[in-house]
């Protein structure tokens, strides 16, 4: 069992003989990875990124990042003879004249959507299982940086083809920059090289999109992976799983095969989408001119919440010392993004501050077992989701025949009320699920055997749960609560003094109080006593 398989031994000897890294390989190829489907979600983003690098390189062979005007003479007849930028013409060339160009373009775009979507679900998994806790806070922050950069990478990417839709996004970007007080106009002129749209922005975005951000992404992803490797992956609670071990399959061969096959799945799904679902049909949008705009101009989905915020925002504007501050643009551009990204980045530290928990955690929480965290997360998703939905309010209005202003007002109210309702509902669901867990431990699971008692009553016999399920449930850990009680002289402990301290102690009690403690082993007898009609002998028959 302890001897490494031949494949590892052979390879590591080969490497060891040459660069002396055999031990490193031997150790790391046997690295244990815990198994849970949700642990693969981050890999969607990782593999999409690899596909993005490869397809993106292909696209650079033909794309010309220039805003110089040309007359289109390519294969797409409805644009023949139309004046357009070289960037747009070359994107059309890739789509219609380069063999496989449209497929690769579509794969690139679908991979981009799945890259960001994969990051989001991975981040939610980490959040809801508390996998960001000590010692993984830094990796969590690297993840937030990755997500932020991915949004920027997407924005610069879908601006490149210089079609009418990408121009609309560029115009909003310019508007957002202009709305920044004092420096906004300077930044806009710097970015666009003069008056919008200028002649520079496409080539600048190109460099940012293919060099700067991918470089940083690559570096941060490497750091993310190395930290994950060194700190080891968290595992779900269960049989024989402790804070000091990792239960799972070794990297070689089991996890390597799983990861490899999941890469193929990711590639397969993206290739299927790229083949059968048209994405970003730039030839239908037409070339960008600042005078034109289409109905239903939306950004890619990950920018949708910003679009929605802009759409529901009332037209507020103030004049301060002769300077116009366009709050109607500034607030939706910065506030939701700020709440979500800053909130995510600070959450591990706020949680530590509230609970006073400075321990290391390697066992993941089940979301139900930390109901306040789960509720905060769902409230955040609701906030994001309402804004995201409202980013498509004109399509919703047009396709479902709901008045546009009704959707706007729904959004204005729901963005505040929705998260509160979601918080409360989620909290109740968590508590309900905890009760269910406690019940499984206390009363066992349904056996499917109906028993008639001597007095004629029918009952279903319950049997103890399977060991792995019971251990999974028993993996629940108490959330520490700050000491807030006053001592004999009526003086509260250090951390709980002053208004902030008192609030902290109060929040800590609310956050940590366990409303549904799990029954310990003694409850078995209580259960027996409750159902006096079922003798011990009857239960044995069922095993």
């Amino acid at each position: 069992m302890n001897a490494p398989p031949k494949a590892i031994a052979g390879a590591s000897t080969f490497v060891d003989d040459r660069i002396g890294a055999g031990n490193f390989l031997k150790r790391n190829l046997r690295k244990i990875f815990p198994d849970h489907w949700s642990f693969l979600l981050g890999e969607i983003a990782l593999y999409s990124f690899i596909i993005l690098l490869l397809t993106g390189t292909f696209l650079t062979f033909w794309f010309k990042p220039s805003m110089g005007e040309v007359t289109y003479t390519g294969n797409y007849a409805p644009l023949y003879g139309v004046k357009m930028s070289e960037a747009y013409a070359s994107a059309l060339h890739i789509s219609f004249d380069v063999r496989g160009g449209l497929l690769i373009r579509q794969i690139h775009h679908w991979a981009a959507l799945l890259f960001v979507a994969g990051m989001m679900v991975h981040m939610l998994r980490v959040f809801f299982t508390g996998a960001y806790r000590k010692p993984r806070e830094l990796n969590w922050i690297i993840g937030i940086l990755l997500l932020t950069l991915a949004l920027l990478e997407g924005l610069t990417g879908y601006s490149l083809p210089d079609d009418l839709l990408s121009g609309a996004g560029l115009r909003i970007t310019e508007g957002v920059i202009l709305s920044v007080p004092i420096v906004g106009t300077y930044i806009a002129f710097f970015l666009f090289g003069g008056e919008y749209p200028g002649h520079d922005v496409i080539s600048r975005f190109y460099t940012i999109h293919i060099l700067l951000i991918p470089g940083i992404l690559l570096a941060l992803i490497s750091a993310h992976m190395i930290l994950m490797w060194v700190q080891k992956h968290t595992q779900m609670p269960g049989k024989d799983r402790t804070e000091k071990n990792v239960v799972g399959a070794p990297f070689y061969p089991a996890f390597m095969i799983k990861a490899g096959s999941f890469f193929l799945f990711t590639f397969g799904v993206i290739a299927l989408l790229g083949t059968f679902a048209q994405i970003n049909p730039i030839w239908l949008f037409g070339p960008y001119t600042p005078a034109d705009i289409s109905a239903g101009s939306q950004p890619d989905f990950y920018m949708g919440f910003l679009e929605g915020a802009l759409r529901v925002m009332p037209a507020w504007e103030i004049n301060f010392l002769g300077h116009t501050v366009a709050l109607s643009v500034l607030i939706p551009a910065l506030v939701p993004l700020g709440i979500i990204m800053t909130g995510l980045a600070l959450y591990p530290f706020l949680e530590q501050w509230i609970t006073g928990d400075r321990r290391e955690h390697h066992i993941a929480d089940r979301p139900r077992n930390n109901p306040h965290r789960t509720s905060i997360g769902i409230a955040g998703i609701t906030f994001y989701g309402v804004l995201w939905l409202l980013g498509a309010n004109d399509e919703i209005s047009a396709n479902f025949h709901i008045s546009l202003y009704t959707t706007t007002w729904f959004g204005r109210i729901a963005v505040f009320v929705g998260p509160a309702i979601a918080y409360w509902v989620t909290y109740r669901i968590c508590i309900g699920l905890q009760r269910k867990d406690a019940e499984v431990l206390a009363h066992g699971v349904e056996s499917g055997v109906i028993k008639r008692l001597p007095n004629g009553q029918y009952i279903e016999v319950h049997v103890p749960p399977a060991e792995d399920i019971a251990e999974h449930i028993r993996g629940k850990k108490e959330i520490p609560i700050l000491e807030g009680a006053e001592d004999a002289e009526g003086i509260p402990p250090k951390g709980a003094r002053g208004p902030l301290g008192r609030l902290r102690a109060k929040m800590s009690r609310a956050y940590g109080t366990d409303h549904v403690p799990l029954p310990d082993g003694h409850h078995e007898e209580v259960h027996e006593a409750e159902h006096a009609g079922v003798g011990a002998g009857d239960r044995k028959e069922l095993h």
Binding site: D35, W37, F39, L40, L41, I44, A77, P78, L79, Y80, G81, V82, S95, F96, L102, Q106, W110, L113, L114, A117, G118, V121, L164, L165, S261, F262, F265, T266, V269, L273, T275, F276, A277, Q278, I279, N280, P281, L284, G286, T289, A291, D292, I293, S294, A295, G296, Q298, P299, D300, F301, G304, A392, D394, E395, S397, A398, N399, I402, S403, L404
Partner: protein, 276 residues
């Protein structure tokens, strides 16, 4: 006047003639009126309509109007509180509204919607109704088949005009879009070339009028060529996803892409259910 054989004196004498003023005024009025009649955007008048259509078309149209339209638009198409006057809207408006099923209106929603035509609204009945309304006060006429023939238009030029004038409401391929207060710009896919032309000429409901000085008939034909070309185009990239842009793309990325990958992850990490 030198060399014409007419002495300047004789012209001067005629200019002083008592009837000269009358003659000049008559000539000026004649030029002005004639010029207007030639240059006016809608040369068709009530008389012209009667002349072009048959007079009994107008009579037939009036009885159709009384039977199907007058309850809202008034007995003489003068308009009521419920519906506008139809005097001067022209045959094109009648043809557009009735052939697309919008009129007679079914309900009092924010705007009349395309629906199957009324039973009585045959092509002939629509022509008769149009002739009657045209006879009331003129207006844009129904375009000829040649005027709306997509094969005679230039789709590339039409595309530029389409993007400049139409897509802010109708979307980049004419898939439709939302307007305020429950109104909407309908999808252009079911519209016939004639209806597209008529909509531009008459500006139905919330739509502005694009008359022949704003967009010439040739340009209208170019736009029709673009619209019909693009809507009949097979999407080269696979399913067009409704051609409404990134909203459905995002939906598919999550509902199809991410769901499939989550299922794959669940499959890969699934454990054996029974002991080996």
């Amino acid at each position: 006047m030198i060399g014409t054989g007419i002495s300047v004196n004789s012209i001067t004498a005629r200019r002083r003639h008592p009837l000269a003023r009358v003659a000049v005024v008559t000539l000026a009025l004649g030029l002005l009126g004639g010029g207007y009649a030639l240059a006016a955007p809608n040369g068709s008048t009530a008389d012209a309509a009667i002349a072009s259509g048959k007079a009994d078309d107008v009579a037939q149209g009036k009885s159709l109007f009384v039977a199907h339209c007058a309850s809202c638009h008034g007995m003489n198409a003068e308009g009521t509180k419920r519906a506008p006057t139809l005097i001067g809207v022209g045959a094109a408006a009648v043809n557009f509204q009735v052939s697309s099923g919008r009129m007679p209106a079914a309900d009092s929603g924010p705007q009349a919607q395309r629906k199957p035509r009324a039973d009585w609204a045959t092509d002939e009945a629509i022509d008769q109704l149009a002739a009657y309304v045209q006879s009331l006060g003129g207006g844009p006429t129904v375009p000829s088949a040649e005027q709306v023939d997509p094969s005679k238009g230039d789709p590339a030029k039409g595309g530029e005009l389409f993007r400049a004038n139409c897509i802010q409401c109708h979307n980049f391929v004419g898939a439709g879009g939302a307007l305020t207060y429950g109104k909407f710009a309908p999808p252009l896919n079911p519209a016939t070339p004639t209806q597209i032309y008529e909509a531009m000429a008459t500006g139905p409901q919330a739509m502005p009028v694009f008359n022949d000085t704003t967009i010439t008939p040739e340009q209208k034909r170019d736009m029709i060529a673009y619209i019909t070309h693009v809507r009949s185009q097979v999407d080269p990239g696979g399913s067009g996803l409704g051609r409404i842009g990134p909203v459905t793309e995002g939906l598919v990325a999550w509902v199809v892409g991410l769901s499939l990958l989550a299922l794959a992850a669940i499959w890969i990490t699934a454990k054996k259910r029974r002991a080996a």
